[in-house]
Amino acid sequence: MSDLVHAVCGMEHAKDSTQEPVRMKKPAARLFAFRGSLSRRAETALAIGGSAGLLLIWEIATRLGWTNPVFFPAPSTVLEAIGRMIASQHLLWHAGVSTLRVWAAFLLAAAMAIPIGILMSSYRAIGAMLEPVVDFIRYLPVPALVPLSIIWFGVGESTKLYLLWLGTFFQLVLLVADDMRRVPQEYIEIAATLGAKPRQILKDVAFRAMLPNLVDNLRITLGWCWTYLIIAEIVAADSGIGFVIWTARRYMKTPEVMAGVVMIGIIGLLTDQILRAAHRRAFRYQ
């Protein structure tokens, strides 16, 4: 918030010096310039301010009795629940279990989808063979496959991994194939006229060219994994955030349900920010 104040003060100062040849716009106009840009600090301030404002409205609404706290508890109550659950119900352990499941399934899906997707767009024959199959399975909703996966894998850990894998692998394959297809033909042909063999072109040029988009798609797909996690953990589990949420619901402990949801949000936000920062660092040349 102090950044905003600072920015506004700076603007005031500019207005005072009337000799300024370029007329400074009003602060609000500067903030809301159509397709304009903001400083890093102003953006952070607005991001925090926006979330804080929303929480504040929510808190006030419940304090004033506009909502029934059984259905819609105040953020402070949810926060309390998080604290209590960390202290006495192993919330962090459950969160850890869920995170581990997500990453295990995600890494498995990525390890399979990256080579297969690359081959699908590098070799027309492989693409022609696999595309219809992948497209078919991709459109099947994961929950519809829950009964089948229980028949196949029972209710243990493998069912959860399988469901998560199912939800991400088939999407990821097509995204990877698309990233590879979008590598400019010029790069391929430059490498060829420098004497590179197809395998070298694939490894040294095409893969490098697609890498930034690939990493971006992995980040997005990781988010989807969390969606399927909750389904998997609701179906059959005695651990994980999905299990915590579902158990709390049975006793109508709305704050605890919300605490679980918020926990997922926090993990998601943190992971996403870390991966974005890593992306920026790794692909600074872009």
């Binding site: 010029e186 430059i190 420098l194 004497g195 040029v205 490098r208 600074r284 040349y285």
Partner: protein, 258 residues
């Protein structure tokens, strides 16, 4: 000139139903010649050049380099494109070095020496560690030229390499390219739409018809303007006469350029 350096033996190319290159045979290119292909857009001149590089194969006929039919692409025939000409994930120096990546016959020291030599030659030494997105479009084309030269290719195939540059950068690069070509004795096949660029650069301008491409005129520019090219040449009467002559030709074959 008994065996021409680059020879075209009734070369044709069709894509599906579309005939892109008519039998081309009267187009022998000598060693160290700078040949510019001119013609209406989409006439097939680029396809003809790509076939020299091995990036497309003739539907019938044969292209021979130094007496031997050209095969798949290799480092002896280098390509410079208009866009995506340098790899964005490599620095300027690494891009130039990449030109020799698959040359196992060069030692590591040789590669470094050649890299520095060509970086220096195109005036990019001080930008060695910059990524392509940090330098101008003209510098990116210089990177591509230096990379192709460093690879050691004898034939440079250039597909409108200066097409995206502003007039001033274009002129500078044209002078540089011409100097490098004469000094390093390279054979260059250059495709462009710009008649003045063609006249300024070329030893020979080959004008193609509308699709399917066939040679309609083969103009010996060096005979008319001399081998020495400097910017003042562009203001001379002879330059203008030649330019207008070629423009008239292009109008006749139906190129709507200009």
């Amino acid at each position: 000139m008994n065996t021409p350096y680059l020879a075209f033996d009734r070369v044709t190319k069709t894509f599906g139903e579309i005939e892109v290159v008519a039998p081309v045979f009267d187009l022998d290119i000598g060693r160290n010649e700078f040949v510019v292909f001119l013609g209406p857009s989409g006439c097939g001149k680029t396809t003809l050049m790509r076939m020299i590089g091995g990036l497309d194969t003739p539907t019938s006929g044969e292209i021979r380099l130094d007496g031997a039919p050209v095969g798949p692409p290799d480092w002896r025939r280098g390509m410079v494109f208009q866009s995506y000409s340098s790899f964005p994930w490599l620095t300027v120096a690494q891009n130039v070095e990449f030109g020799m990546r698959y040359r196992n016959d060069l030692s590591a020291e040789e590669k470094l020496a050649r890299r520095d030599h060509y970086l220096d030659l195109v005036g990019l030494y001080e930008f060695s560690d910059a990524y392509p997105n940090r330098v101008s479009g003209g510098m990116r084309q210089r990177v591509a030229i230096a990379r192709t030269l460093a690879s050691g290719s004898d034939v440079l195939l250039m597909d409108e390499p200066f097409g995206a540059l502003d007039a001033q950068r274009r002129e500078t690069l044209q002078v540089e390219l011409r100097n490098i070509q004469k000094r390093d004795a390279k054979t260059i096949v250059f495709v462009t739409h710009d008649v003045e660029e063609a006249v300024f650069l070329a030893d020979r301008v080959v004008v193609f018809s509308k699709r399917p491409a066939r040679v309609v005129a083969d103009i010996d520019v060096t005979d008319r303007l001399g081998a020495e090219r400097h910017l003042e040449l562009r203001d001379g009467v002879r330059f203008f006469e030649l330019r207008n002559e070629i423009l008239r030709l292009l109008r006749k074959v139906g190129a709507v350029d200009e």
